[in-house]
Structures are given as structure tokens and as C-alpha cells.
């Protein structure tokens, strides 16, 4: 039996409109998705001529290193030489190295802080505090990188160079003080213990940490004069041959770590919260502490999720431009010392691309760098996303079982 409304002209026009709209939406949606693919295609198409055997064709080995003036292979990024037609010395190796170095230092800063924060907020924090703390940490992510770069490059970097002892003192004193606190906390009278509980530690530790930092800065000249003859920088140089530059990999790492923390934190926190509650409760019922629950029960389950969080953080760190541009020395060095400058792919692109002649070798080399960044981050993120999706499925199944 046919639908009586189907003969209604109004209904038919509505139907037609519906089909048209669906078509439009489909076209629009697919168009958007195609644009997205176009990015990869564009980069690929522009980069390929670089490897064609021809006038400006480059061999893969030239991208790595080229013979320098002394005849030995050197890793030098001298793009301006490309246009002058002199020996091409445009090795991407130092840029790749710089990118990796910056990312690694960022992760060294970010991973402990972010994972610690995730563990604390998923296990210990009261729900009310957590509902406030999560958005606060999200705000960290919103900080424009140009501001972070400015602070790191022009304020923090020079300060650390002048006050190396103070900086070292802060970095060393904070964890020590925390361990002391952990040991001392149980000796406190019970009411104080309850008042200064671990659940609300994120709040009452704030002023304590502030005081600690101030104390560390104040104490620094003292121990500097005791142990290092009043000048730590001098001592470091004479003892280890390390030369502290104001714009170095550690400063970049710190600023970029700041930018990466919230991303890792949010995902890791999600991963921990997704662990079925009953597992954790079971462990605690058996007498495990919450920290034991975390390390023995929750962490093994949530590990893939945490891993994916770190991968996404790594993706962000690799592609970050302004922080590296402003806080690093932009010297294309290939040294492993964290106190030297570095130069990354992204910051090279940002400075040099507007001046590179489109279609030239320099232009294509920079596009190759962009392609490398694109592929790396895309792969990282896809992997992370797949891991997360699989994990979520497993949880759903395990929840269904119980």
C-alpha cells in the first residue's frame, strides 16, 4: 500500500529539497575532506622535482651531508649558497637533529609533570577540585606560543644565563623538598594531616611551592660560594668544558614543555579515568594504597592510552615554531649538549620560506621539511588515535562482561 502523502505535491517538493540538501551536504563534506588531503598532495607534488635527475636534482646523500671546504663531509645548512649556484651545502641533518633535540627536552620536562598531574587528579583529587583543575590546565594549552617564546627567549633565557646557580637550585630543591614532605607528613599530628590532606594537595602546595622557589633562589648564592667558588658557570666550563648559552636547548625544552603538558595531561587523565572503576576498587579493598593501585592495576591497563598521549605531545613538540624560533639560538649545530643552541625545521621554514623563490631548490627543500613535519605528526597522531580507539573498545567489552 502506498503512502497517501507521497502524492502530495508539497511533500514531493519537500522530498526534493531534502535530496538536494543531502547532496549539497555530502558534496560540501567531501569537499572539505578533499581539501584536507590536498595538503599532503600539494607538499608531495612540490617536493618530488627535487629528486628528479636534472638541473637542480639533489641526491639523497646531499640532503644529509656535503663535502665542505676541507673536503670532509660537513653537516651545514647554507641555503643562501643555493641561489648563488656555489657548492650546494644544504644538509637537513642539523635541522632534523635540532627538531628532535628540542622535542626530546620538551618531553623530558612535560612527561613527568603531565603524568604526575594526571595520576594525581584521577586518583586523589576530590571531584569538585578536579572539575576546576582540568579547565585550569586547559588554559595552559591556550597560551599563545609567541608569548611563551617571548618569555623564554627574552626573559627566562637571559635570567638563567646570569643566575645559573639559582636555576639549578630550584630544579634540585623542589623534588627533594617534596620527598621530605612525603616522609614528614605521616609524623604530623592527625588533625593537621587531615587538614593538609593529599586530596587537596594541589591547592595547599601552591603557596608552599612558591615559598620553596623563593627560598631556593635566595639560598643559591650561599652554596654557590661554598662549593663552586662563587661562580657556577665558570666552574661548569672549567670542569666539564660546557659553555652556557642564553638561548639553549633546555630553555626551549622548558617553554615547550609548558606548552605540551596540558595536551599530555588531558589524554593521560582520560586514559586513567577510562579504566573500569571496579578494578581499582577491588585492589583497594584488598588493602593496596592508591599509589599501588595506580602502578599495579591501572597503569598496565591504561598504558597504551598514556603512550598515545605522549605520542600526541611529541607531535606537538616537533612542529612547534614560535617557541623554538624565539628561545633557541637558531644555530644549526649538531651537538648533544643541552646548553648549546639549536635550530628546528619549523623555525627554518618560518624565517626562510617567504624569501625563497617559489620553485627554486631552497623553496623545495623547505617544503620537504614541511612534508617531513606533516608526515611525522600525522603518523604519530593516527597511531595514537588507533591505540586509543582499540583501548576504548576493550574497556567497553570488559564493562559488558561484568
Amino acid at each position: 500500500m502506498s503512502d497517501p502523502t507521497s502524492t502530495n505535491p508539497l511533500y514531493r517538493s519537500r522530498q526534493r529539497r531534502d535530496r538536494l540538501a543531502t547532496l549539497l551536504i555530502t558534496a560540501g563534506g567531501i569537499g572539505v575532506l578533499l581539501t584536507v588531503i590536498a595538503i599532503a598532495v600539494f607538499l608531495l607534488v612540490e617536493v618530488v622535482p627535487l629528486f628528479w635527475p636534472g638541473a637542480d636534482g639533489m641526491s639523497l646523500s646531499a640532503l644529509w651531508s656535503a663535502p665542505g671546504t676541507s673536503g670532509e663531509a660537513e653537516f651545514r645548512w647554507l641555503p643562501h649558497r643555493l641561489e648563488e649556484g656555489v657548492v650546494a651545502q644544504a644538509s637537513l641533518a642539523p635541522l632534523l637533529w635540532g627538531t628532535l633535540e628540542a622535542a626530546i627536552w620538551a618531553l623530558i620536562v612535560a612527561i613527568p609533570l603531565a603524568l604526575g598531574a594526571a595520576a594525581h587528579s584521577s586518583l586523589y583529587m576530590t571531584p569538585g577540585l578536579r572539575a576546576r583543575m582540568k579547565p585550569t590546565l586547559e588554559l595552559m594549552e591556550a597560551m599563545p606560543s609567541v608569548v611563551l617564546g617571548f618569555i623564554a627567549g627574552l626573559v627566562l633565557g637571559p635570567w638563567v644565563e646570569r643566575h645559573l646557580a639559582e636555576a639549578v637550585s630550584v630544579v634540585l630543591l623542589l623534588p627533594l623538598a617534596m620527598i621530605t614532605l612525603a616522609l614528614g607528613h605521616r609524623r604530623l599530628p592527625v588533625p593537621v594531616q587531615r587538614y593538609l590532606s593529599l586530596n587537596s594537595a594541589a591547592l595547599w602546595l601552591l603557596p608552599c611551592l612558591l615559598l620553596l622557589v623563593l627560598a631556593a633562589v635566595q639560598l643559591a648564592p650561599l652554596w654557590e660560594s661554598w662549593w663552586f667558588a662563587g661562580d657556577l658557570r665558570e666552574w661548569v666550563e672549567q670542569r666539564w668544558g660546557l659553555d652556557v648559552q642564553a638561548r639553549n636547548a633546555m630553555i626551549v625544552g622548558l617553554a615547550m614543555g609548558f606548552a605540551v603538558i596540558p595536551g599530555i595531561y588531558a589524554l593521560a587523565e582520560d586514559a586513567l579515568s577510562d579504566v573500569p572503576r571496579n578494578l581499582a576498587e577491588g585492589a583497594q579493598a584488598m588493602g593496596a594504597t592508591r599509589w599501588q593501585t595506580l602502578t599495579r592495576v591501572m597503569l598496565p591497563i591504561a598504558l597504551p592510552g598514556i603512550f598515545s598521549a605522549i605520542m600526541i605531545g611529541a607531535g606537538r613538540a616537533v612542529g612547534e615554531t614560535m617557541i623554538v624560533l624565539m628561545a633557541s639560538g637558531n644555530s644549526a649545530l649538531m651537538t648533544a649538549t643541552p646548553l648549546d643552541g639549536l635550530r628546528s625545521l619549523a623555525s627554518s621554514i618560518a624565517i626562510e620560506l617567504p624569501e625563497a623563490a617559489p620553485g627554486g631548490t631552497h623553496y623545495r627543500l623547505l617544503l620537504l621539511a614541511a612534508l617531513a613535519l606533516f608526515l611525522f605528526t600525522f603518523l604519530m597522531n593516527t597511531l595514537a588515535e588507533l591505540v586509543r580507539a582499540r583501548l576504548r573498545q576493550r574497556f567497553r567489552r570488559s564493562r559488558g562482561d561484568t
Partner: protein, 526 residues
Amino acid sequence: MKIPGHTAVGSKTLRRPHEGPWAWLAAASVALSVLMLGALIVLLSVKGLANFWPSTLHEVILDDGDTVIGVPFEQRTLPGGEGVERRYWIANRDDGGGIWRWLSVPRLASDQTPDDLVVLERRHWGTFFGRLVAVRLEGERLTGEAAWLAMEQRLKELDALRQARQQLTRDDILPLIRRMEREPSSSETQHRLDDRQLQALQARAKELRRLQQGGVLVLENSQGQRQEQPLEEVLDAWRPNAMAWYEKLGHWGGELWQFLSEGPRDANTAGGVWPAIFGTILMVLLMSVLVTPFGVLAAVYLNEVAHQGRLTRLVRIGVRNLAGVPSIVYGVFGLGVFVYGIGGSIDRWFFDSSLPSPTFGTGGLLWASLTLALLTLPVVIVATEEGLSRIPLHQREGALALGATRFETLTRVVLPMAMPAMLTGLILAVARAAGEVAPLMLVGVAKLAPQVPVDGEFPFLHLERKFMHLGYHIYDAAFHSSDVQAAMPLVYATALLLVVVILVLNLTAIFMRHYLRKRHGAPVRR
């Protein structure tokens, strides 16, 4: 039954086992992160806002009798480790010694803050510190307090004259010239009439300019040398040491307003950031106009229209991952495809006459907005999709059961319900776009855009023009200005402004999302 977690179970009767140091380190990492965020914001606020406060002028006499008038800025230990040196802002660039001076503190014999020290803000040579000796005005020579009052009076007049002249140029002369340019084919009499009118207006402008002349300040710098300063070049004058706190507060407000409402001066080291604010807003607006329809379309397609199979899931992952692609890559894409590709073609087709100097074939407002729209597309798609997936299936089924078509269900039921989610996405996109600098460096931001992209000239909105941007202004002033130290206070203030804008946007988004979650509950996962 839901067991209430591990909050207060038996904490009275049982002593909970101790957690060990790791738990405390974890707690400290939360506190440390928050502390870093707070320190950053406090630093920016203090440094950014203190800049506008009229700082006390010091008159310092050194042990060799040299006198310096200036504002102490910072203190450093001398390289040997003994003693400190202090940086003074001594202004008076026309004296030839630069605007800074380092004094080693042990050499200071006396340090006073006399009330009669004046600060002049000038159109040439920057700020002046010193004393006002006399004012010569219309043949009269005034000294002492009378001179100060006469000068203040005259400065007000000058301000009015300057504004009148600006207004005349803006409202009468430029429109007339534009009309003459637009309608050149009218009769010769008309042309002569216009010409005469233009001459009259220009004469009036010159008259206003002439009225500003005359009036000379006799000033004395720290060395006691006299110099004459034409009054017309003085923009503002104050005596910081003689001001009461409420006067200072008023001055602070005025300076803050200038910062927000005026253009940059002295190669971006002084003046305000209005063009940068304007450019940022305009670019972000254009971007929103571009990104919203496409983002929503894609999200609706993915969530409502497309068959929910493996492919859709893959596409969804792909879109999500695009949010993680570095912004500089989008910049490269924008430069290669929009600027060189599309822009170049537009130039060849429409602006052949002006080639090889590019019109659209160089970075500009349009390309920057498009690039950022692409960059923020994933943000909008993801947020909209989340909103769509929160809408219970029965809402759609109800509408369909009542005979609505799918399109009608979409526009009347689903989209209105998903509206807050879309808005959240858009706000997040705007916040991200406002703080993004790296891609803009490739596709159209300028350190100084003499012509704003919107003006009275047809077609009013100039999409091909370059524009200024708050984030880029920070980078530029911190690295490219003639003197970083002089630009630093301004950089702090600009950074604070940018951070405040972005934080407000993000907080709005957070509150909206919070409100949404409360109203609609958890998303329906597919």
C-alpha cells in the same frame, strides 16, 4: 550499586596506609603546573600594566659631579661580582647618547627626586627628561609655575587644533579628492569648481597647521644645557614627582587608553597597538565566516549523512589528527597554494596591468584568513560532531515519525540543539586563530601596515592588503624594533592583551561546554 569511590570511607576508624613519596611528587606536579601558569600571568600583568604608570624621575649625581636624570629600570651584578650597576632610562635621544645609561651604584653620590622634573612626550626624538625653564608664547616669556600653566593650556589648544586638522583631512579633503578621482569625466566647470574647493580646504588645513606653530619651550637637560623645543611637537607633558596618586591613576588610565586606541610610533617601540587589534579582529572575523559553514557541513556529513562504516571512522580519525599537524605546515600550504597558486592566477587574469608586482599573489588578509580557517577546521568539526552525537537518537526519530524529512529534522531539530556545541567549537577556533603566529608570517602579516585593510576607499574592505596582528607584533617588537629594551614594556603589554583576549575566549568555551554537559549528559558514542 555505586560505591562512593575512595573519598571518605572509614577515614575515621581506619588509618589509611601511607602513599609514599611518589604520590607527593605527583601532587606537586599539579601544583607546579598551576604555579607556572599563574607566575606567567602575574608576570605579564605586572610588567604589562606597570608600564603605563608614571614612574618617578630620579636626579642622580655621580662622584665625578656628572648629573643624570632618569628612571631606574633594572639592576645587575657587575661581571667581577663586586658591586651592582643600574640601568637608567635617560631619554633625550637628541643629546646624542642614546636613551639608556648604565651607572655603577657605588659611584652614586646623591639620589633625589625633585618635584620640578618634567617628562615631555614629543613627536620627534622621543621622550624628554629635564626641567622646564620658560615658555615663549606670542612674544611673552613666562617662567616658573606660570610657564607650566601656560604650557598646559597651550597643549590643550594644540590637541584641539591637531584634531580639527585631522578631521578636516579625513572628512572633507580626502572625500573630495576621492570624488574627483572617481568622476573625472564631469564638465570642466565642475572640475574647476572642485579644484577651487580643494584649494580652499587645503588653505584651511594649512591655516590650522600655521596656528599650531609658534610657542617655544626653553628646556634644561640634566647637564644644565638649555635647549629650545617647539611646542607644536610636544604631545604631552607631566611632572611625575609632583603628582598625587589619583593624578597618577588618571594618567595611567589615559596611557592605557592610548595604548589601546592609537597606532605605533618610533618603529613599534612606542605608541599603541590599535592597528594590530583591529587586524587581529578582522582576520579572525573573516576566518569565522569561512570556517563555520564548512566545518558544520563536514561535521553534519560525517555524523548524520555518511554511512557509519570503517571508512567514516578512518576519515574521522584523519580529521582529528589534522588538529595535531603543526601550524607552520598550514602556513606552507597557504603560501604555496593560496598565495602563489590561486593568488598568482588571479593576478594573471585580473591584475595583468600591475604585474609583475603582485596584488593577490602576495600574502594578504584573505589568504591569512583562509589559511587559519583551514587550520581551525578540525576544531570546529570535532566540537560540532561532539554536539551532534550528544543529541539523543529519539529526538531525530520523533521528528522523522512526525513526517519531517531528513533535511527538516536537521535544520529544525538537530542543528538548533547542537548550536551551543558549534559555538563552543567556533570560540575555540577563534582562540586558537588569535594566538597563532607562525603561519601568518608566511601568508600576509606585516610589521607595519600603513594602510589598514578597511578604509573609506572603494571597495572599503581590501582583502589583498597586508595587516597587523597582535601576536606578530609581539614577535616583531621583541626582535626587530630598533631597541629591545625600549620596546620591552610594550611587548609585555601586548602579550598581556593577547593572553587576556585568548583566556576570555577559552573560559567562555569552557563554561559553555560545562553547561552543555550538564544539559545533555554524556555523548552517545558510535
